[in-house]
Amino acid sequence: MKFLDYAPAPESKALLSLKSDYGLFINGEFTAGRGTPFQTINPATEQQIAMIATANEADVDDAVSAARLAYDGVWSRLTGSDRGKYLFRIARLVQERARELAVAETLDNGKPIKETRDVDIPLVAAWFFYYAGWADKLDHAGVGPNPAALGVAAQVIPWNFPLMMLAWKIAPALAAGNTVVLKPAETTSLTALLFAEILQQADLPDGVVNIITGDGGTGAALVNHPGINKVAFTGSTSVGRAIARSVAGTDKKLSLELGGKGANIVFDDAPIDQAVEGIVRGIFFNQGHVCCAGSRLLVQESIHDEVIDRLKRRMQTLRLGDPLDKNTDIGAINSAEQLARIRELSDLGEQEGAQRWSSDCVIPQEGFWFAPTIFTNVSTSHRIARDEIFGPVLSVLTFRTPAEAIAKANNTPYGLSAGIWSDKGSRILAVADKLRAGVIWANTFNQFDPSSPFGGYKESGYGREGGRHGLAAYLKPAVRSGSRSINAADQQATPVTKKSASASKKSASAEKAAK
């Protein structure tokens, strides 16, 4: 055996105790769904992990009613600092249970444990910590003094960063004073349901967060429900369009975070080894299941061959396999359906005349896998240069001048992300100024921080998440009488909880948040 065939180093599953069936989390309790339950599988083995309930329209109605009741009765009456205390408590509990959540996320999603351990779960905690701090400072959120919450927010999230997307949605909504009904993606509901247990542990007042599971039908019932005030969706552009249509004509506020075809622009004076790392991080991070992935590499023609040579060499060191192994770089594709789409578009790339190259890696027998792949000789007219593949597939294009790089980078219906690699600061600023993308990274890629707003142009959606801007998406300028200017008696009120005694035993940090 060679040294580089590192011996297996699997993360233990012992910490995780999963139930065989999960219900819906409505009004602080797990209840059976009235739709047909479905199984959630481990995409690396195709084995069933648990059965998940489906919420039908009546369940959606219950969840929205619970959220409305919690909004009117408790959450809108709490002071910002009291809401902040709950959010801080949730953040601490996420940290305490970080390893368990990381293992669960890896099992259910297929992404490598090193990413869930080092990126996903730490960012989940960071998001709650960040917005916890905002909860009592809403006057500075940029929507004027005494801003008001919107009410009940319906949130529908994707499968690529299940718990992280949940945090991006729930943390600002709660900090701003809204209550929430959230629907995780069908293939990755597990960590959202573990998160529901954390909410119980944190003694969050019943109904403030409701988590309902199911397929697209459940999601449609939720966003179409007349009782909600806000829809926040992250996912595909086609579903985003349908939501925009259904919300049109109502007074529901909408934010959409949709697809992307990010350009990663490498100039000839780039720090070349770090640029190669950035290309790898841009497209192979999370198996390329990243809406802001750098899926189009725009490389200056003069260094094309050298960059591709170095990139291929680097790709040979990527380790594909058991997502629970701590040395795995590339995990499993999330679903058979997504794998089929990646294969279809990749085959199309070959038919269109692009040159395909994949790293040598052994594809496991069971599960859904796709070797890291690059296409060279790609033209702007090729489908693989235009369509979002959402997999570990990079399309390489070249450019000759900065003007051509900008034109090619912008020549896409999307506008979510871009990267610029150059040693010259003035060039980075000049090019960034002309790129129509919501997020632009300079000499790095796929870096996320709760204080930084994130969102897209054009078909990548609208509205911003993260930072002050992300907070504003859950606020309105007008003061709702009675909601924020609460009287002294209300300030003293402690939220009603049914299970505080048992919950506080479970949590080391469970002092009463609303004291």
Binding site: M1, K2, F3, L4, D5, Y6, A7, P8, A9, K114, D118, D269, A270, P271, I272, D273, Q274, E277, G278, T317, K326, N327, D423, N443, T444
Partner: protein, 337 residues
Amino acid sequence: MTSSPLATYQPDQRALALIGGEATDANLRRYLHGIPGIDAVGLEARAADLGTRSIKTSSKRWAIDTIIGLIDLTTLEGSDTPGKVRSLVAKALVPDPNDPGCPRVAAVCVYGDMVGDAVAALGSAHAAGGTEGVNVAAVATAFPSGRAALAIKLADVRDAVAAGADEIDMVIDRGAFLAGRFGQVYDEIVAVKDACRRVDGSLAHLKVILETGELNTYDNVRRASWLAILAGGDFIKTSTGKVAPAATLPVTLSMLEVVRDWHRLTGVRIGVKPAGGIRTSKDAIKYLVTVGETVGEEWLTPHLFRFGASSLLNDVLLQRQKMTTGHYSGPDYVTID
């Protein structure tokens, strides 16, 4: 791998062909400044990422034994005596008296005036540049500062080679490098290499110490690495161990990238030696991973990779005992030197 006509050149011709003229300050500056820059944040992130590899069971066992075989066991103190050197040599030959299967270290590294004592103590176990036994490395050229006249530095080298040193660890003139006098640094390395010639015409192995802690930026480290290799160094070494910071993983990674690119360009393999500050098995394993994933596993041989260390060996031996017996022992279960 690029096959290049450069591979067939003599080393000095190769350098001149690459630089495009004589090794003047201007020509060297043009060449060294034409090499792509390093983004510090990205380099450090990559090093940190390599540091998260989890090396367990059989891989760890292999790594532990490999580390021992890559160590230049070092004593570089003003208080060194022949007795201290004999003791060091004994430790180099039999690192773990309880386990005869424990591999020997690659070399002992001493000051020039101690070379004779080291050679005598090694006796028949002196590898003398070969692979069987232990080599003797000597620091030279007014180590660690390098602040002496060239004639004195060269005399220092010749003296150590004559006494039987198989490897010379020279320091570059950091002052000249930082002042942009690249030609002077280059010429000194060429002269030292020439002084490494033995009576029989063979050459002692030349390790060029960059003292990265004084060069300060990764771009400087990268340029100094290219300069040392162009001038004919067989190894590039991070530090003397007398300046903080000494070896770090990002610095070593940047030097390994140069070595990888040089191999890609010329087909010639240059060695890398991080020295100073590597004290634990855990740290040393991160270096093995970095070597393996950057230049390739074939670099994990004493001819191409060394650890300059003294206290590292005992930590590795404790880990080795733990893997053999299943129990942690303690500092009194390994010999102090």
